[in-house]
């Protein structure tokens, strides 16, 4: 799974209330959630984010609530991958379950800057900065998590396995 896109950069400890505030949990429509994505961190983000973007942030990304609306909003906004120094636990699990690729890479999280064009190989965790040349190695997902992500999430993964059994 290869991704090529433009970096949108955020700080440390980006919490789920910044990613998608609870006042928008009255919908589970991904496109409506996307319209408010990152609203309390950067109100201009949802309006300017391009398809196939790469979100980059510091430590503890996605801390706070268990709301799965958070990775859904990010994915639906057009972000193809999130790179952070570290992720909060529930967000990490939710991102895999809904098929949003994420990579933990403290070096890339520091080096990559807003607007950089990057190439990301999810399977082997390799991150390449094409604007300011540099290469960064993240620890890739264990194989069973990669299978879930590559099928677009746990729902598709389970459905396929149910079909195989039938």
């Amino acid at each position: 799974m290869q991704i090529k896109g433009c970096v949108y950069k955020f700080g440390e400890d980006v919490d789920t209330d910044q990613i998608i505030p609870a006042r928008y949990l009255n919908t589970s429509d991904p496109s409506e959630l996307a319209a408010h994505c990152m609203e309390d961190a950067d109100p201009t983000f949802a309006g300017r984010v391009q398809p196939d973007s790469v979100m980059v942030a510091g430590k503890n990304f996605g801390c706070g609530s268990s709301r799965e609306h958070a990775p859904i909003a990010i994915k639906a906004a057009g972000v193809s991958c999130v790179i952070a120094s570290t992720f909060a636990r529930i967000f990490y699990r939710n991102a895999i379950n809904i098929g949003l690729p994420i990579l933990e890479c403290p070096e890339a999280a520091v080096a990559l800057q807003e607007g950089d064009e990057v190439k990301v190989d999810i399977a082997n965790g390799l991150i390449k900065n094409l604007t300011h040349p540099g290469e960064y190695q993240a620890v890739p997902f264990p194989p069973f998590m990669q299978k879930i992500v590559s099928r677009g999430g746990l729902i598709n993964y389970v459905s396929e396995r149910m079909k195989d059994r039938a």
């Binding site: 400890d13 309390d40 706070g64 268990s66 799965e68 859904i72 570290t86 636990r89 529930i90 389970v158």
Partner: protein
């Protein structure tokens, strides 16, 4: 090799001899979802072609985040939940019953040694009852509703040993705000926290639930305590189920052991917009406030309301302050009525709202205005948490919130101690 509480519970529930970093598939004793997360779980359940909820008597849905519904869209989601619960023979706690994290222990669903998942991050609350209880997302909840199982990575454990005795006017909320300020918001990420020591043993079960509730605010997966006589008695009075308490082995292996003497701890306040931004109350005393919130899954229990009532008895909430009170459950509401606690609060000027999460999570019932300062007994002060990203939230104990409501500015509650 000895085991931590987390290793023991996950070993027992998976049938594997599990240690740190093992991945296990375990039988889940109880599954819970609330109205913010259940609608997505129901859609995922359907998309996964789930036909029925496995062991529906061991699962519940709770309408608490927007209760009663403030919006047409939310009403439709509540209807979806009610229909799903009926079709699958599950319990649904509807509008007015209370906050999920009060209800699940209070209704006797969980106890020592239980393995619990909830589609809400503060599910870790039940760790105070010696349950391995953790927050998950909606898709995980859906899969667990179908199968009754979930995969877990066995976490490392960080142990907090709290020695000494909390001084007068200092409570379990102050202790956990202090601990989070010490280890920071991601100091226990991916780990289990174990809270122990003389200061914890002294606390009531109500007060312990406050500490475990906030384990997630240091990034922890669970916030575990041992089940002593107080816990066993509490659980016996709320549940008919059989439970098996789990203790850590003396030679269990810990990622870190943090020891604190809390005998001289001050009341703590977490400044905006981070929960780990805790300081002794003196550093922020005098900050004007416009709203005070008493309630939530952190501090909406009878003991919390009683502590606030003792300060507010015969006094009035400052004319520039709205004091919003949300009892954690109908049971708490009734007990606060019977004991006169509620009357004291209302006479002092409190506005009591339906038991639920509204003010804390910004769905309704007290959204602050631009530039306002709020002091709250909740567990999160993130920017925009209460639905206005231009407001400022300070977190504190019920006593500090009550004292601040009286004076109209952040106040050390010890000023009001006789």
């Amino acid at each position: 090799m000895g085991k931590t509480i987390a290793e023991k519970i996950l070993s027992k529930k998976s049938g594997q001899n599990a240690y740190v970093n093992d991945i296990v598939v375990a039988d889940v004793d109880f599954r819970m979802g609330q109205d913010g997360t259940s609608p997505l779980a129901i859609r995922a359940f359907e998309a996964m072609q789930g036909t029925n909820v496995h062991a529906p008597e061991r699962a519940a849905l709770v309408i608490d985040h927007s209760a009663p519904s403030p919006l047409e869209g939310v009403s439709a989601l509540h209807t979806l939940m009610r229909k799903f619960a009926v079709e699958n023979g599950m319990t649904l706690y509807d509008v007015g019953e209370g906050v999920c994290h009060q209800l699940i222990p209070e209704k006797g669903h969980v106890g020592p040694g239980s393995l619990v998942i909830g589609a809400d991050s503060h599910t870790c609350t039940y760790g105070a009852l010696n349950a391995f209880a953790t927050g998950v997302g909606s898709t995980d909840l859906a899969a667990a509703l179908i199968s009754g199982k979930m995969w877990f990575k066995v976490p490392e454990t960080i142990k907090f040993v709290c020695q000494g005795k909390l001084p007068a006017g200092v409570y379990s909320k102050d202790l956990i705000l202090f601990l989070i300020s010490q280890v920071t918001a991601d100091g226990a990420t991916y780990m289990a926290a174990e809270y122990t020591g003389e200061a914890i043993k002294e606390l009531s079960v109500d007060a312990r639930l406050t500490i475990s509730n906030m384990a997630i605010e240091m990034g922890a997966k669970v916030g575990l305590m041992e089940a002593d006589d107080k816990v066993l008695e509490w659980v016996r009075s709320h549940s008919k189920k059989e439970f098996e308490a789990v203790s850590a082995d003396p030679d269990a292996s810990y990622a870190a052991v943090k020891e604190y003497d809390v005998s001289n701890l001050d009341p703590y306040v977490a400044k905006p917009h981070r929960v780990d931004n805790g300081v002794p109350v003196g550093e922020v005393a005098g900050t004007p406030i416009q709203q005070a919130v008493l309630g939530t899954c952190t501090n909406g229990r009878l003991e919390d309301l009683s502590i606030a009532a003792r300060l507010l008895e015969g006094r009035k909430v400052h004319p520039d302050v709205r004091l919003i009170v949300a009892p954690a459950s109908r049971q708490v509401y009734l007990e606060a009525m019977d004991t006169g606690v509620l009357k004291t609060l209302v006479q002092a000027g409190a506005a009591v709202v339906t038991p639920g999460c509204g003010p804390c999570v910004g769905t309704h019932n007290g959204i602050p205005s631009d530039g306002e300062n709020v002091i709250s007994t909740a567990n999160r002060n993130f920017k925009g948490r209460m639905a206005n990203n231009k407001a400022f939230i300070y977190l504190a104990s019920p006593a500090t919130v009550a004292a601040s409501a009286i004076k109209g500015e952040i106040t050390d509650p010890r000023e009001f101690l006789e």
